[in-house]
C-alpha cells in the first residue's frame, strides 16, 4: 500500500469487474451469474430485496466468502480474493453492515489496525497514530476524539470511524453495506461529502442501501439484484423511484403507507406516567387502541431507552406504566409480556436473534405458552402456526429448521416480528422496525402495522425515518434530550415543526 495520500493513478478502464459469479449456500442460491463493473471515481449503487445477495457479493469482494465460480478483475488483472487480507492488499476496503471495530481499542488505534505506523525498532508509534488520526478527522470534518475508546462511542460515531478507516488505507475501491442505517441526517450529509471526496480521488465506490432517496442523491449507476440474479444495470438518470422499485421487487407498490383506519382511536391501552430513568426525564403519554403512535427524535434522543423502559427491560427510577388498567412491575419483562406489551428491538443481533436456534424456535418463543398442554409443547400446532406466519410474511428460508443466523437481515426481522404477532399483544413497541429492510418488505411491514392497529392494537413506533413517521403515525411524539418535547396529531404535523421540536 502507498504510504502517503495521493490521488489514485487512474488508468483507463474499470477499477473492478465481477464476471459471472456464482455462490450457493445449502438450500439457497445466493448469487447466479452476476456481473458488475465499477468505474474509478464513480459511485455504483447495489440494490435489491432482502436476501437478494448483496451482502454475499460484498463478502466475496472482501475475501470473506469464496465464490463458487466466476472471475474478479481488479484494474484489468485477475484477482484471487481468498482472505480479507488479499482483498485489502488489492485495495478493496469494505465498510460492513455490522460495525467492525475493536471496542476495547481507541479510535486512533482502530483506524490503523491493519497497518500500524512503526518507529525504527518496529514498535508501534503511538504518537504518530494519534497525530495522523487527528489530522485525518480534521481533514474530513469529523468531530470525534481519537483518544476515546470505541466501545464508549455511540453507534453512529463508530460508523464514522469505520468510514475514516477506509480513507486512511488508501483503498482504490471502497464498498459500503448500508452505511447510513444508524446515522443522523447531519451525519449522512457528512458521509456523502466524504464519498464525494473519495470519488474525487478516483476511488470507485460500491454503495449498498435500501434507501431510495440516497441512491438518487449520490449514485452514478445502479445495479439491481433479485433472488441472486442481476436484473438491471442502468445509469441513475434512467431510473425513476417507481422503475427502481419495479426492478427490485418485480411489482409496483401502490401505496407504501396504507392508512385504512379511523384515526380517532379507541380506549387508552398504554399510559406512561412520570417515567424517569438514567437517560429519561418525566415522560408522560398515552397510546390508544387502534392507533399508531410515532416517536421521532434525533439520534440519542432517548427513544430506545424509552422503548426498553416501558416493556420492563430496563430499570426505571420513578413513574408508572399501566397497560389496560394494570400496572407493570418495573424492570420485569415477564409481567410486561403477560400484560400484552412486547418490543421489537432495534438491535437484532444482541437483543433479538437466538442464532443457534431454528427459524421455528425463534419465531414461536414468545408465544410458546399458547402451544403447551401442561407444560408440554404441542409441536404440531406450533409448527402449523409458525408456518402460517412464514408464508404470510414470505420469509425466505429453506426450511423451518434452518438456523436463523443463516437468513438475511430482512428475513430475520420478519421472523422476529412474527415472534410477537403470534402472541396476541395489546401494545407492540417497534424500534426502527425497518432498519435494513427492503422496500417490498417495508411496505408489507407497514401494511401489517397498519392492520394491527386496525385490529385494535396500540402500535408504538420509534423511528428516525421522516416519511415512515409521517406516513404511518396517527399521532407523533417528538423527543429531545430524554424528554418528550411535543405530541401532535398527524394532520397538524409538518416536517419542519417536527424537526424543530426534535432540536429543542
Amino acid at each position: 500500500m502507498p504510504a502517503e495520500p495521493s490521488p489514485i493513478a487512474t488508468q483507463d478502464g474499470p477499477a473492478l469487474e465481477v464476471i459471472g459469479i456464482n455462490k450457493r449456500f445449502p438450500g439457497v442460491v445466493a448469487l447466479e451469474d452476476v456481473d458488475l463493473t465499477l468505474e474509478p471515481g464513480k459511485v455504483h449503487a447495489l440494490m435489491g430485496e432482502n436476501g437478494a445477495g448483496k451482502s454475499t457479493l460484498i463478502k466475496i469482494l472482501a475475501g470473506v466468502y469464496r465464490k463458487d465460480s466466476g472471475a474478479i478483475r481488479i484494474g484489468g488483472m485477475d484477482a484471487d480474493l481468498r482472505t480479507p487480507r488479499d482483498a485489502l492488499r488489492q485495495g478493496i476496503k469494505v465498510v460492513f453492515q455490522e460495525i467492525a471495530l475493536i471496542s476495547e481499542f481507541t479510535v486512533a488505534e482502530n483506524i490503523y489496525l491493519e497497518r500500524y505506523p512503526t518507529d525504527r525498532l518496529g514498535s508501534v508509534d503511538w504518537s504518530a497514530i494519534r497525530k495522523d488520526a487527528a489530522a485525518l478527522f480534521e481533514r474530513i470534518g469529523f468531530d470525534i476524539d481519537p483518544a476515546a475508546k470505541v466501545g464508549d462511542l455511540p453507534v453512529s460515531q463508530q460508523q464514522m470511524v469505520e468510514i475514516a478507516r477506509a480513507l486512511a488505507h488508501q483503498a482504490k475501491i471502497v464498498v459500503m453495506d448500508e452505511p447510513t442505517s444508524s446515522l443522523t441526517p447531519k451525519e449522512v450529509e457528512l458521509l456523502f461529502n466524504v464519498i464525494k471526496r473519495l470519488t474525487g480521488l478516483g476511488i470507485a465506490v460500491l454503495y449498498v442501501t435500501h434507501k431510495l432517496g440516497e441512491v438518487f442523491e449520490i449514485a452514478d449507476t445502479v445495479t439491481v439484484l433479485r433472488d441472486g440474479c442481476r436484473i438491471s444495470t442502468k445509469p441513475i438518470i434512467e431510473h425513476t423511484q417507481d422503475s427502481l422499485v419495479q426492478d427490485m421487487i418485480g411489482r409496483h407498490i401502490e401505496n407504501l403507507f396504507p392508512h385504512s383506519r379511523d384515526m380517532t382511536g379507541g380506549a387508552t391501552i398504554l399510559s406512561v406516567e412520570g417515567l424517569s430513568t438514567a437517560k429519561l426525564t418525566d415522560i408522560n403519554f398515552e397510546a390508544r387502541a387502534g392507533e399508531v403512535l410515532g416517536f421521532f427524535g434525533l439520534m440519542g434522543a432517548g427513544r430506545t431507552e424509552l422503548a426498553k423502559a416501558i416493556v420492563g427491560f430496563d430499570p426505571i427510577h420513578t413513574g408508572r406504566i399501566v397497560i389496560d388498567g394494570k400496572a407493570l412491575l418495573p424492570h420485569d419483562t415477564r409481567t410486561g409480556v403477560a400484560l400484552g406489551i412486547g418490543l421489537l428491538s432495534e438491535d437484532r443481533k444482541t437483543e433479538g436473534l437466538m442464532p443457534e436456534l431454528s427459524v421455528l424456535h425463534n419465531a414461536s418463543l414468545a408465544a410458546l405458552r399458547q402451544f403447551t398442554i401442561a407444560g408440554f409443547v404441542d409441536e404440531g400446532r406450533e409448527r402449523g402456526a409458525v408456518q402460517q406466519f412464514i408464508d404470510k410474511f414470505r420469509v425466505k428460508t429453506p426450511s423451518l429448521h434452518q438456523e436463523i443466523k443463516y437468513l438475511s437481515g430482512g428475513n430475520q426481522q420478519k421472523v422476529l416480528l412474527a415472534r410477537w404477532l403470534m402472541r396476541g399483544l395489546k401494545v407492540i413497541v417497534v424500534d426502527e422496525p425497518t432498519r435494513g429492510i427492503d422496500v417490498g418488505a417495508k411496505s408489507e411491514i407497514f401494511a401489517l402495522l397498519d392492520r394491527l392497529a386496525g385490529e385494535g392494537l396500540a402500535v408504538v413506533m420509534m423511528t428516525s425515518e421522516m416519511p415512515e413517521l409521517l406516513g404511518l403515525s396517527d399521532r407523533i411524539a417528538v423527543m429531545a434530550g430524554g424528554r418528550i418535547t411535543t405530541i401532535i396529531n398527524r394532520n397538524e404535523a409538518t416536517q419542519e415543526a417536527i424537526l424543530n421540536a426534535a432540536i429543542a
Binding site: E351, L365, V377, P398
Partner: protein, 326 residues
C-alpha cells in the same frame, strides 16, 4: 429458478437428524464395544455390564444437570467437591438420627444449597460461572476438612444406607434405576417442554430471551440448583458405595462429567446440545475405562485414551457440521 429449495418447508420432520445427530458417537461406541469384546470375552459378562452401568450412573446423574447448564451457557465445576461434602453430611446425619431418609435428604439438600449459592454468585454478583465455581470448588474442598478431618463411617451399619448403591430393583442396580429416571425426566423436559425450550433460548441469547418475557436469571438459578441437587444425590450414592463419607471423594469428578457432556456434542458456548449425546458420552468414557482394565492394559491409558477421544470427537463434530452446512 433460484427459488429456495423449500422442500423441508412442507415436510416437517419431527426430530431432524443432521445438525444434532449422534451418529458419530453411536458408531464410536459400537466400535469400542466390538474391539474390547474381541480382546476379552469377559466384557459382555452381566457382571461387567452391571459394573459399567453403575459407574455410568454417577456420571450420568450429574451429567444430566450439567448438560442443561452448559446449554444455558453456564458451567459448574464445584460438583466434584460438592459430592464429597454431601456424602459426608448424608453419612453424618444418618449416624446422628439413625434415619437413612433424613441423611439422604440432608446430603441432597446440601448439594442443592451449594447450587443455590453458585446461582446467586453467578446471577447476582455476575461472576462468570467458570471462575465462581472453581472458587466454590476450592472453598468446598477446604471446607469439607473443616467439617470433619476424618472419613465419617457408617457407625450404625445401617444396611439401608448401603442398599442405596448396592441394592437391586429386579435385575437393575438401584443407582442405574435412579440415573435412568433422572435421565428420562431431564430428557423429556429438555426436548418436549416449555422449560426445555427456554433453556436453549437463554443459552443462545439471554438478552433476547428476557425481552421475550423470560427470566434468564431465574432459569439459570433453577439449573444451578438442580445440578447441585443432582451432585448431592451422586455424593449420597458414592458415600453409600463406600459405606462412609470420604472428604476426598469425587476429586476431579467435575472433569469427568464435563468431558462426557462435551464428548456428547454440547457446546461450551451455550444454545446447543442434547441429552442423548451426553448419555453416549458417558457410556463411551466408561467403556474405555472399563476396557482398559478388562484388557489388562496399563491403567495410565485411562488418562491418555479419553484425552484423545474427546479431542477426536470434537473434531469429528466440526467436520460433520461443516459437511452438513455444505
Amino acid at each position: 429458478m433460484r427459488e429456495i429449495l423449500q422442500s423441508a418447508n412442507s415436510t416437517p420432520t419431527p426430530h431432524r437428524l443432521g445438525a444434532n445427530s449422534p451418529v458419530v458417537l453411536i458408531v464410536l461406541l459400537a466400535l469400542l464395544c466390538i474391539a474390547i469384546s474381541i480382546g476379552s470375552s469377559r466384557f459382555y459378562a452381566i457382571e461387567n455390564i452391571t459394573a459399567i452401568l453403575r459407574q455410568c450412573a454417577l456420571v450420568l446423574i450429574i451429567g444430566s444437570g450439567m448438560t442443561l447448564l452448559l446449554i444455558a451457557a453456564e458451567v459448574d465445576l464445584s460438583v466434584g467437591a460438592s459430592m464429597a461434602f454431601a456424602g459426608m453430611i448424608a453419612m453424618d446425619v444418618t449416624n446422628q438420627t439413625g434415619s437413612v431418609w433424613l441423611g439422604a435428604a440432608a446430603g441432597i439438600l446440601f448439594g442443592g444449597l451449594v447450587g443455590l449459592v453458585n446461582a446467586i454468585i453467578v446471577t447476582r454478583l455476575k461472576v462468570k460461572s467458570l471462575i465462581a465455581t472453581i472458587a466454590a470448588m476450592m472453598i468446598l474442598q477446604g471446607g469439607v476438612f473443616l467439617y470433619s478431618r476424618q472419613a465419617i463411617q457408617n457407625n450404625n451399619q445401617l444396611p439401608a444406607f448401603t442398599a442405596i448403591s448396592t441394592g437391586f430393583f429386579g435385575p437393575v442396580p438401584v443407582p442405574v434405576l435412579i440415573a435412568a429416571i433422572i435421565f428420562i425426566c431431564t430428557y423429556i423436559v429438555l426436548r418436549h417442554t416449555l422449560f426445555g425450550r427456554y433453556v436453549y433460548a437463554v443459552g443462545s441469547n439471554p438478552q433476547a430471551a428476557r425481552l421475550s418475557g423470560l427470566n434468564p436469571e431465574r432459569l439459570k438459578q433453577i439449573l444451578f440448583i438442580v445440578t447441585g441437587l443432582l451432585a448431592g444425590l451422586s455424593g449420597l450414592i458414592l458415600a453409600s458405595l463406600m459405606n462412609a463419607g470420604q472428604p476426598t471423594a469425587g476429586r476431579g469428578f467435575e472433569l469427568t462429567v464435563i468431558a462426557a457432556v462435551i464428548l456428547g456434542g454440547t457446546s461450551l458456548n451455550g444454545g446447543r446440545g442434547t441429552l442423548l449425546g451426553t448419555l453416549l458420552g458417558v457410556l463411551i468414557l466408561q467403556v474405555i475405562n472399563d476396557g482398559i482394565i478388562i484388557l489388562g492394559w496399563d491403567q495410565e491409558l485411562q488418562l491418555v485414551v479419553p484425552g484423545i477421544v474427546i479431542v477426536l470427537a470434537a473434531y469429528l463434530d466440526i467436520v460433520r457440521r461443516r459437511a452438513g452446512a455444505r
